[in-house]
């Protein structure tokens, strides 16, 4: 298997996902199967080939900097699970 259980735990942590013990086993097997399939790509000679960074022939898109309508605070907060005084509320991140 390309990925073991420990690697699955590390990836899950990076992605801020919580997995059950059973899911760790399952994901290790499933992700390994997918990765071994996509490994076929290594057969393709890409020496000196630039990666696609954008599919369209555009670089910078500019327009006049004119003030326009923007989202009022109360609408921007309308879907917030918790809010106070015009702000999003998050759990405490600093110890007292």
């Amino acid at each position: 298997m390309i990925l073991d259980r420990k690697q699955v735990e590390e990836i899950a942590f990076l992605a801020r996902l919580e997995l059950t013990e059973e899911e760790k086993e399952e994901y290790a097997a499933q992700l390994s199967a997918i990765l071994s399939h996509v490994a076929k790509l290594q057969e393709l000679d890409t020496t000196g080939v630039p990666p696609t960074v954008h599919i369209l022939p555009v670089s910078n898109v500019l327009r006049e900097d004119e003030p326009g309508e923007s989202l009022p605070v109360e609408l921007a907060l309308a879907n917030a699970p918790e809010k106070a005084e015009g702000c999003f509320v998050v759990p405490r991140i600093l110890e007292e």
Binding site: A12, A15, L31, I34, V38, K40, P50, V90, R92
Partner: protein
């Protein structure tokens, strides 16, 4: 007269001629919707009241003598990842079950300006990740041609609704085939426009360099009318190019004389059901008889598209879906510490979504980036290059839309690679940013078969013309599904 069976251009004539009202049209579709919805479960939200209000407004405009645009009073459905202010937009996910957008997607706004009437938001695989709509967090949608089979995905709700006549047209989104594959499975027309043709503002992202919204309809003409409305630059989406938007209906001319069709051999090889391959070839021969020139050729990169796609799409998704952290919108678990709040909130994401986030996170992580993501983006350059060369020789390319007809419900949920392979014919258009259309071209096992026509960037007109020519010569699009259990 069954109004729900009529194409938009016929309904328009009846409406402006004063033979029916917009409210009668909307009521007819809503009645059909109520009739088929218990079997199909194509919708997440039905907006009946809103639809009747919008239809009433069209009737008032007509009474005042206003000239109505072609899609005014025509009922449509939106895939549930397209934002509508004040209407739940769930993306098929528990994460967004209670999310109510505070702004409209540009494409919805444009359809409203054109006077179309919203009947509901359709079911989809969670965050558009899937090929059967079975990964919706809410319910399974069934195929109107056979209720024991999947409608395809991820725009499966839109496809099933249009095939059954619950709305005249719908919008779907297509990241690797999510408009064309369900269109093929349900026997309708679906267009993935050129990347940059249609604004993505207000469309909840899956993989931003591949996503594109497009029309799903019963006829090529109706699809062209919808494309006319949704195409064009948007100040709110800098990737929606300023390229001029032609009147796509001007391409609806039955003429393929001298047209050069390229047929890539790799799309007819291993894994393609013989009946499907035969139906596509029969279609190609028909176009040849009508004056097109046909040539087989080889697309060397074809076998690498699936691999490149299953690195690039999850990588972009893992980054896009990082916003579901329980803070600004979406589900939030009641936990006191920040890290715990993130991980517990993200537990509501379904297994396929989490799997793809994991895959993408891995492909982008230090030490693996070069082997996976960088390599896949290099492959993408080669894929684009090969298509560019092909279009120097051919006007359009024709392939099957899917390797087989719609599969049975539950048949592939445990075999992910097999499920991913059902998109093998459609992925290249997303990777290369090309426009592609799927249209009905036959039946096998009582299920529709879809033919895919690909064009150069911004050559939507050309693929519409070829599709229209084929449609005028065939009867497949005239069939209506039984909305009952078939013989398996």
């Amino acid at each position: 007269m069954e109004l729900w069976k009529l194409p938009a251009h016929s309904l328009h004539k009846l409406l402006v001629g004063g033979e029916v009202t917009a409210q009668e049209i909307t009521s007819a579709f809503l009645q059909r919707l109520r009739e088929v919805e218990p079997q199909l479960q194509a919708f997440i939200t039905v907006t009946e009241e809103l639809a009747l209000e919008q239809a009433q407004e069209i009737d008032r405009r007509r009474e005042k003598g206003e000239e109505l645009p072609p899609l005014a009073g025509i009922p449509f459905a939106l895939k549930d990842n397209i934002s509508v202010r004040g209407i739940p937009t769930t993306c098929g996910s528990k994460m967004l079950e209670n999310y109510i957008p505070v702004y409209d997607a540009t494409i919805y706004k444009r359809l409203r300006e054109a006077g179309s009437v919203l009947v509901g938001k359709t079911n989809m695989d969670e965050f558009a990740m899937g090929s059967s709509t079975e990964f919706s967090a809410f319910h399974v949608t069934r195929n109107p041609w056979n209720l024991e089979r999947v409608p395809g995905g991820s725009s499966g709700g839109s496809a099933a609704a249009i095939a059954a006549g619950a709305a005249n047209f719908a919008l779907g989104t297509d990241t690797g085939g999510s408009i064309r594959q369900p269109a093929a499975f349900c026997g309708i027309v679906g267009i993935k426009p050129t990347y940059g043709r249609v604004s993505r503002y207000g469309v909840i992202p899956f993989a931003s360099s591949l996503d594109q919204a497009g029309p799903m309809a019963r006829t090529v003409t109706d699809a062209a009318l919808v494309l006319n409305v949704i195409s064009g630059h948007d100040q709110r989406d800098s990737t929606a190019l300023k390229e001029p938007v032609p009147d796509y209906t001007s391409y609806l001319v039955p003429d393929v004389a001298g047209l050069k069709i390229g047929v890539p051999k790799e799309y007819f090889g291993e894994g393609i059901a013989p009946e499907v391959g035969a139906a596509i070839w029969e279609g190609i021969r028909l176009l040849e008889k009508l004056g097109a020139r046909v040539e087989e050729f080889s697309l060397q990169t074809a076998s690498h598209c699936l691999s490149a796609y299953y690195i690039i799409a999850p990588a972009e998704a893992s980054s896009n879906l990082a916003c579901y952290d329980g803070i600004r919108y979406g589900y939030r678990a009641d936990v006191d510490d920040l890290l715990g709040m993130y991980t517990k909130s993200r537990r509501v994401l379904g297994s396929e979504v989490r799997r793809r986030i994991m895959l993408g996170t891995y492909a982008l992580s230090a030490g693996y980036y070069d082997a996976y993501y960088h390599k896949a983006q290099q492959a993408r350059t080669l894929i684009r290059q090969e298509f560019k060369e092909a279009f120097e020789k051919y006007d359009v390319l024709i392939t099957p839309t899917t390797p087989n007809v719609a599969f049975a419900l539950g048949a592939m949920v445990d075999d992910l690679l097999a499920m991913y392979l059902s998109d093998v014919c459609t992925l290249a258009a997303n990777l290369a940013g090309l426009p592609a259309i799927s249209l009905p071209c036959g039946f096998s096992q009582g299920m529709p078969i879809g033919m895919q026509i690909l064009g150069k960037p911004f050559a939507e007109g050309k693929i519409l013309q070829v599709a229209y020519t084929f449609e005028q010569e065939t009867e497949y699009h005239k069939e209506f599904p039984p909305v009952s259990k078939g013989v398996m």
